[in-house]
């Protein structure tokens, strides 16, 4: 399963709003669960825990251990780490 997390606005500058979350979904037509830190959380909790985008985690849901942490491209000019994450989770599911 896949979860898209919109963790901050402008790389840790401020929390995401519901309007921004909806715009994110609409822009990319995201077909999976898409979430943000819940208001009134202004502490950027997810950003502080998980680090700066663009990062992809693969988590074993039976143990909640991180199987892979893939650091992607922060410029947006190159292939996102999400691509590598998809390849790797498919391999895990087939193993």
């Amino acid at each position: 399963m896949i979860v898209e997390l919109l963790e901050s606005n402008n790389i840790g500058s401020s929390p995401v709003t519901m309007t921004q979350l909806k715009a994110w979904v609409d822009t990319y037509k995201i077909p999976v669960t898409t979430v943000m830190d819940p208001p009134p959380d202004t502490g950027l909790t997810s950003y502080k825990v998980l680090g700066q985008r663009e990062t992809t985690y693969i988590v074993d849901l039976r143990t909640m251990k991180i199987v892979k942490r893939i650091l992607g491209d922060v410029t947006g000019a190159f292939t996102p780490g999400l691509d590598s994450g998809i390849t790797q989770i498919i391999a895990l599911l087939k193993a």
Partner: protein, 148 residues
Amino acid sequence: MPKLRVAYVSLFVLVACGGSGDTGSTSGDDSAVGDDTLVTSDTEGRDTTSGSDTASGTDTTGTDTIGIDTAKGDTVATDAPSDTAIGPYPAGPYSANEGDTITNLAWIGYVNDAADAVADTKPYVDYSLDDARRTGRKYLLLHVSDFA
């Protein structure tokens, strides 16, 4: 931007092909692989749900049917354990490094674990890593983005 869009198209294909947590198939072969196969369609868009052992072409409940032939009167089994069977969230210490346990982050947003539509057509509700864990699926791909 275009590359991210391509990634999400790939992501949609992954989910449609069983990436909802269990064994996916991109070959159009209905044979069960592992214990949780749920095939909806392959990457060429062919319907592969008509094989002998695929119980359902959709998974909208968060539970996957396995090895069931309803035409023969089999009852439907699921691979999603009950809450009591899953147990509590693993204890810490927590970190965001490979091999470590991830903390149970709490979020809010559009929850679409079935991945069957654009997310904002779904309920805007609380969600957490523990909720993902309780789906009973095997792996989570968590993609961290930033609004800019």
